[in-house]
Amino acid sequence: MIYKGNVWKFGRDIDTDAIIPARYLKTSDPVELGKHCMEDADPEFMNKMSKDDIIVADENFGCGSSREHAPIAIKAAGISCVIAKSFARIFYRNAINMGLAILESPEAVDGIKAGDEVQVDTDKGEITNLTTGNIYQAKPFPEFISNIIKQGGLINYTKEKVKAQAK
């Protein structure tokens, strides 16, 4: 999968309460959750960002709660991909299960500035900063993870698999 967008940068330890505050968890509707994405990290984020933009963050992105609403909100907000130096464990698994592309690359995070245009090839694990021309290498996804993300998450992936087995 190839994603292209402009970069929004965040610091370390961006927690799930910053990504989607619990006061909005009265619903699991992606559209509603997406409206409040990153609100407690940057209250203006949803007014500034555009569809397909990319979040680039420092270490321990997604720490805190197990709420799956966090990757759902990021995806529904229109963010195409998250690049961080590292991810918290539960968030990492949830992002894949929700079909949100995430990549770990400390070099890319250090080399990319807010506003840069970036292209990400998740099959190759290649992150290209189109603004500077620099290319960074992250670990590519194994094929089954790629397939989960292509199908929009683990539930759709499982559904398709069950269907295929029934045939």
């Binding site: 968890l25 009265k26 321990n60 709660s65 197990s66 949830n94 299960n97």
Partner: protein, 417 residues
């Protein structure tokens, strides 16, 4: 091969010789969801046409984050869990019962078992010598339906604790100190194994506090030996027959070993807005506090309430500081009434809140105003955690919380002990 506790448990549950780094498919003994994450899990299963529980008698659906419901949308979410319980035979823990993690250890979890839960503090049950870990709604939904999950066997950090706590210093201070030392991502993907003479001598309640906060260092689980203390607790809870000993093998492989001597430890506080932003009491004393919150899955047990009541007895809260007390479960609440603790809190000016997670997670029952400061015994102080991104949260032991309620500013509890 010599094994850590987590390697032992996951070997037994996967039928393999599991070592750190292996990916295994493990049998699950128990699973939990709560009212924040559970409705989504049920909706996922509905989408798959798999509305079922492989082990309904060990699948527990908790209504604790908004208990009782403060708004219609949450009431409707609760209906989804009640319907799922009816349909599948899963256990419903309703609004009167209390916080999921406290209820799991009180009633459902045993040494050597595997628990997955759609809540990050599921790791609390590790104090009983179980492997317990938090996951998202999708993972837990598929675990409930199939009775299995895939896991990467984590490497283990051994946390070897020695020394005696000074007066006024508690396991909570140790855990905040430890997280401050290794950082909020210091143990990401790893298991923590707590051991050493101080842990051997520690009562079960303190072990629950340590295990509960393992995730605040990024850990997948926090594990303890199952020993005579564990046995005594299970007996008290009517599950003595479920006890079995568990400990790591001599020569087990640890990625790191931390040694901590608690004898010089001071009352420790996490300052806004990260748990690893820790300070010793003298550096934060005197900060004005608008609300004190004593409770939660971290420190809402009877032992915690006894400490707070001892300090508050015969005193009253400072008039500008609200004091909320929230027993972690119905059983804790009842015991606190029997022991006369609740009356002491009320006389001291406390508001008693229904057992649950409401204020800690910022859903209801203690939301902060703009610019307000709260000192809480909970596990997390992220910006916005208690319902307002313009609030400030400090974390502490119940003793510091009680002393702070009296003085209206962050206070050292030792002068009251």
């Amino acid at each position: 091969m010599s094994k850590t506790i987590v390697e032992k448990i996951l070997s037994e549950h996967s039928g393999t010789d599991a070592c750190a780094g292996d990916i295994v498919v493990a049998e699950i003994d128990a699973a939990l969801v709560q009212d924040g994450t559970g409705p989504l899990a049920v909706q996922h299963l509905q989408k798959l046409g798999m509305e079922q529980a492989a082990k309904p008698e060990r699948t527990v659906l908790f209504i604790d984050h908004a208990a009782p419901s403060p708004r219609k949308e949450l009431s409707n979410a609760h209906k989804i869990l009640r319907d799922f319980a009816k349909k599948t035979g899963a256990i419903l823990s309703d609004v009167n019962e209390g916080v999921c993690h406290q209820r799991m250890v009180e009633n459902y979890m045993n040494p050597g078992e595997v628990l997955i839960g759609a809540d990050s503090h599921t790791c609390t049950a590790g104090a009983l010598g179980a492997f317990a870990t938090g996951m998202g709604s999708t993972d837990v939904a598929l675990g409930i339906a199939s009775g299995k999950t895939w896991l990467r066997v984590p490497e283990t950090f051994k946390v070897y604790v020695t020394g005696e706590f000074k007066k006024g210093v508690y396991p909570k201070d140790l855990m905040l100190h430890f997280i401050g030392m290794i950082g909020a991502d210091g143990a990401t993907y790893k298991a923590l194994e707590f051991c050493g003479p101080t842990i051997d001598a520690m009562e079960i309640s303190g072990r629950f506090t340590l295990a509960n906060m393992a995730v605040e260092a990024g850990a997948k689980a926090g594990l303890f030996n199952s020993d005579e203390t564990t046995k005594k607790y299970l007996k008290e809870r009517g599950r003595g027959e479920a006890w079995r000993p568990i400990s790591a093998d001599e020569g087990a492989n640890y990625e790191r070993v931390y040694e901590i001597d608690v004898s010089e430890l001071e009352p420790t506080i996490s300052a806004p807005h990260m748990v690893d932003n820790t300070k010793v009491i003298k550096d934060v004393e005197g900060i004005r506090v608008d609300q004190v919150y004593i409770g939660t899955c971290t420190n809402g047990r009877i032992e915690d309430l006894r400490i707070a009541a001892r300090i508050l007895e015969g005193k009253t809260r400072n008039p500008h500081t609200r004091l909320l007390v929230c027993p972690a479960s119905r059983d804790v609440y009842l015991k606190a009434i029997e022991e006369g603790l609740i009356a002491k809190f009320i006389v001291a000016g406390a508001t008693i809140v229904n057992p649950g997670c409401g204020a800690c997670v910022g859903v209801h029952g203690g939301i902060l105003g703009d610019g307000e400061v709260c000192l809480a015994t909970q596990n997390r102080n992220f910006r916005g955690r208690m319902g307002n991104p313009d609030g400030f949260i400090y974390l502490s032991s119940p003793a510091v919380a009680a002393a702070t309620a009296i003085e209206g500013v962050i206070a050292d509890p030792r002068k009251y002990l």
